[in-house]
Symmetry: C2
Subunit: 198 residues, 2 copies
């Protein structure tokens, strides 16, 4: 009963759920939330329109599941095994390059998170997930400031500059349909480090 052939039977329809999530992610990136019709999602996922409502309570619930899932995936990629005892310089490099990897390997997920930042249809839990991540970053910045390794100033402002610069760099990629080279990412990292170092 637990051999691979029966696995998809034991958790029925998991693959359909994944197909719906994948199709919805793509379409929300391409057309936005209100610009995407539920039957379109069904068509791209290769399921009936009604099937979506077997897995998700509503279109809004669907977009919230995607948001939280991808936000947590991002957090895992970036923070898993974070070198908390390394120098701030090294921590910054690791953070930047992990973000670059996530964004490069998961273009749609990255665009989705960007696009749906603070959207009206995100519910309290989705906002809470976001808020927890921000708080975590703020505490890292505050710590580095206390050790005199980052410029002084509102932590949220410094974080905004760094994250904004990252998104700005990535956006060039997306806008031009090209992808940034490893060298480009390293240059960007060096630039932004010089922006915030004390």
């Amino acid at each position: 009963m637990t051999n691979p052939a029966t696995l998809s039977r034991r958790v029925p329809g998991t693959d359909k759920r994944e197909a719906i999530l994948g199709a919805a992610l793509e379409l929300f990136v391409e057309r936005g939330f209100f610009g995407t019709a539920v039957p379109e999602i069904a068509e791209r996922a290769g399921v009936g329109a009604g099937t979506i409502y077997r897995y998700f309570e509503s279109k809004e619930a669907l977009v919230n599941v995607i948001y939280r899932e991808q936000k947590l995936r991002f957090a895992n990629v970036v923070l898993d095994g974070f070198p908390s005892t390394a120098t701030t310089r090294e921590q910054f490099r690791v953070l930047w390059m992990r973000m670059a990897r996530f964004a490069t390997d998961n273009l749609d997920a990255f665009s989705f998170l960007e696009l749906h930042h603070h959207a009206r249809y995100l519910d309290a839990e989705s906002r809470a997930v976001e808020h927890r991540m921000v708080q975590l970053f703020v505490s890292v910045v505050t710590g580095a400031q206390a050790r005199g390794e980052l410029k002084l100033g509102p932590p949220r402002l410094l974080m905004g500059l760094v994250m904004g610069a990252f998104v700005g760099a990535m956006r060039n990629c997306l806008d031009e349909g090209i992808s940034l080279t490893e060298a480009d990412w390293k240059l960007a990292e060096q630039c932004v480090w010089e922006a915030v170092r004390s």
Copy 2:
């Protein structure tokens, strides 16, 4: 026929047109393009739904007019009387502070331009307006690089970092419902200059 009393007759309904543009700008920022219903725009503008179609061919034409209008307003505020003979350091300061002024004084317009960056419903002319602005900035960056005053590297990448950092700083404002102080803007300017200086 040209005295003030008859002006609003000679350009009929100019004030209604402005009311529609203003209401639509606000609502598109609050709810997005597809999330905003035309009758809602009419209500906030204090006109009938049909009246909107006396001034704009369609909802899509309306959003494009707003986009181009605000993009050009931004370009004017930032580039009008630009000190083209000053040092790159001084030019950077002027650019940054003018952008800060525009964003602070025109929160909705700034958010609108951010939100509708590369949206599907922007037409060829709107894209052309955007493209011309980018080209202009690229040539400024390239010139400064040639004089050895900016880091070398893809001009689009450096621009992306700077503009991204600006947006990131501004976003803190919007997210927290607070506004950045003059000191905050100066700190941010100093940080970002150090990111791109040679």
